[in-house]
Symmetry: C2
Subunit: 424 residues, 2 copies
């Protein structure tokens, strides 16, 4: 049995990054940049006004005072003709308009009095007042996004402001998923006595999609070393990574290790010191990884989270793939961890005293439904003794923590307040 840390190190060593491909911006959402993105131009490309007003020469305004306003002649705008603001004149300018030659400041429209073509200014302006310089937002040549960045809406906005149409991203890993066990039936078929539905394949396909990878479901393979070896080999050919569930514990029907050996894959480890998920096996062939996860769905979920997700994100070189770990106060006592790292499905809340955490329900490996409300895992190192309510534990956040105490609605006049988990 290997430690979880060693298991993760071993599989990450074999999680080679994929090639890059160039995609159009709308298709890049949720992908990871394969190279730094440099600004090919200034944004804005020219000096412009950040507000509606009048472009003036600051020196013309120096003598202005509430008692002795300065008067300037408003120049007429001529479509398509560039204008020069000479001393004693000004010109109407709107938000985003390029700055006219001669002018070096903008007076906001609400600060002046206009009568016909005459503008009265009651206060002096310093040079460069209300001028947005070229490159104020992004300077040409700067790195706007580093390699290994997850592309979100804001990045697409930034790339568009630079006129970029396409961006280099890592290819999506293709991940084969197969389930073993003669007791399994796919959804839609009728169960005989002793049979259950295969929930691992649909769940893993969804987890793979959530990692910006492409699931490739292979369905259910019976309990035969021959059939399994054949399916694993075919899955390997068609995919960048292979996941199986079931058949890795030490019972009579546990044939996966045999099938893995039969196809000549090299076993990196079998059995990891974590609960749930102990029976997990990893192997490698042709520089591709096999993850043979336990068949109990909660164990499959936790071992995917601990071992497979990091590798999928490593294959697209994502920076900062780790989930945040925080310290939280236990809302109730919990039993000792035992001799392995233990991960408890948990609900983490954010109250006035900081983070608190409680069990999300029944801990058995065969029980998946208690993960429904979980937004965190309590991480208990091997040997952790029984803990009392109020003691501190390390919690890995799977999504945003819930807000326990909603602030009084009027404590923030006019602002809407929030509770609950924001997932979007």
């Amino acid at each position: 049995m290997v430690s979880l840390k060693d298991a993760l190190t071993l599989v990450l060593e074999h999680a080679f990054p994929l090639e890059a491909e160039r995609v159009f911006l709308p298709d890049s959402l949720g992908r990871v940049t394969a190279a730094p993105v440099l600004a090919p131009m200034n944004v804005p490309p020219f000096e412009r006004s950040p507000l509606d007003g009048y472009a003036v020469r600051a020196e013309d305004t120096f003598a202005a005072s509430p008692e002795q306003p300065v008067t300037l002649a408003v120049l007429a705008k001529t479509k398509g003709k560039s204008i020069y603001v000479k001393s004693g004149t000004c010109i109407r300018i709107l938000t985003g308009d390029p700055f006219p030659r001669g002018a070096d400041a903008v007076v906001p429209q609400e600060k002046v009095l206009r009568v016909g073509n005459l503008l009265f200014l009651h206060n002096p302006l310093p040079p460069e007042a209300n001028v947005a310089s070229a490159g104020e937002d992004i300077r040409r040549g700067t790195t706007v996004v580093e390699k290994g960045t997850l592309i979100e809406a804001i990045h697409i906005g930034i790339f568009s402001s630079l006129g970029l149409q396409r961006v280099d991203v890592f290819k999506k890993p293709r991940v084969a998923v197969l389930a073993t066990g003669s007791e399994l039936k796919p959804c839609g078929e009728r169960l005989s006595f002793g049979q259950i539905y295969d929930c691992n394949t649909p769940m893993l396909c969804a987890l793979i999609s959530e990692c910006a990878a492409v699931p490739n479901p292979f369905g259910i393979v019976g309990d035969s070393t021959e059939a399994l070896a054949c399916s694993l080999e075919k899955a390997l050919e068609q995919s960048d990574l292979v996941i199986s569930t079931g058949g890795v514990s030490v019972g009579d029907d546990d044939l996966v290790a045999g099938a893995i050996k039969k196809i000549g894959a090299h076993i990196l480890f079998w059995r990891v010191a974590m609960k749930p998920g102990t029976p997990a096996l990893a192997a490698v062939k042709n520089k591709k990884l096999f993850f043979c996860l336990p068949g109990n769905p909660a164990a499959a979920y936790v071992s995917f989270e601990q071992l497979v997700r990091p590798c999928l994100l490593a294959k697209v070189s994502l920076k900062n793939w780790q989930r945040p770990e925080i310290s939280a106060l236990l809302e109730h006592s919990i039993p000792a961890a035992g001799s392995q790292n233990r991960f408890m499905r948990a609900i983490c809340s954010l109250g006035k005293e900081g983070f608190t955490v409680r069990s999300a329900g029944l801990e058995r490996s065969g029980v998946l439904s208690s993960f429904r409300d979980a937004n965190a895992l309590i991480c208990l190192p091997a040997g952790t003794p029984a803990l009392e309510a109020g003691e501190k534990v390390t919690v890995r956040l799977l999504s945003l923590p819930r807000q326990q105490e909603v602030l009084a609605p009027h404590s923030l006049s006019g602002l809407t307040l929030s509770c609950g988990t924001g997932t979007f």
Copy 2:
């Protein structure tokens, strides 16, 4: 000018939920349930063993002791034939196997000695020891997921364990996006002097996708009331909701309000007490909402976040759509908020002392790039005075906070530790 709270109340009143549709499970990821999902069966459907061992009658073991082991005869398994465990016998049972009649407990294989067909037990077992009852995971008839739940991988696992093939979800809102401004060019075209690229349309389309809605980009419409009215009307016909950017401030070219009136839409408000985003306008026609957002990209981003996102999520009846708001310590001083609610793009970190927050960069409405690193908005109510470093502010989390201090690698023997923002 309306308060942000009133503006949000007004638009939410007009954000009618969409109809439902039935989709296959793999297509339901990221959608929102349109009805409660009830369990049509027990999971597991039968009493089963949670481990590898031997099924016994507990009463047979009562006399067992380390000195005086009990001996049981191991029954042979016959394929397809049901077995009755009578007194003095037992049968091999594997994880997940249905419980044989007669037996009422399982002894783990590591706790017994087997010699040929004889099993030696050195300890008594209580009845029901190591038995997973039918319905232990999910009981038939219970509500496994409520209406208005965002479907994630774990839900797909739960639905599959119940044999469900399809699920009722709300239709995705179709959202038209158009940009106004004769200075705008789409990416890929060459800019003339005074022109800039339209970054709002691609950014809003991505934000819409992130809300599980379908963007319908209409491109750039010139500065003409006629052309705008025509495009807005066409956009309305083809979509459930329409967003435009630009043309809503009070400059000479601000024609959107005119076009909105021309097509007979009812204006709900024009100008909201928030910065950035003040010029936002909302209108309604044929029970559909128009959001006319400012053209400055940072203002478009913030007004989408404040007004449009809540409506898109209301149209699919998502529970808990609000983002969590937390209290954080300022890492530096900030200026007074002014007379409107102010939202500052910010970086929220999680350290030993709890949450801290700092500005993500330049605050101008025309500057988008400083949102790149933002994971939060500092929410300053109107009238908030200048604040010093160390003072508390309310922060709305847009994604998971960053981890400031990484725990020492060995403080959690064998566990991997995390830093950075986990987005997957």
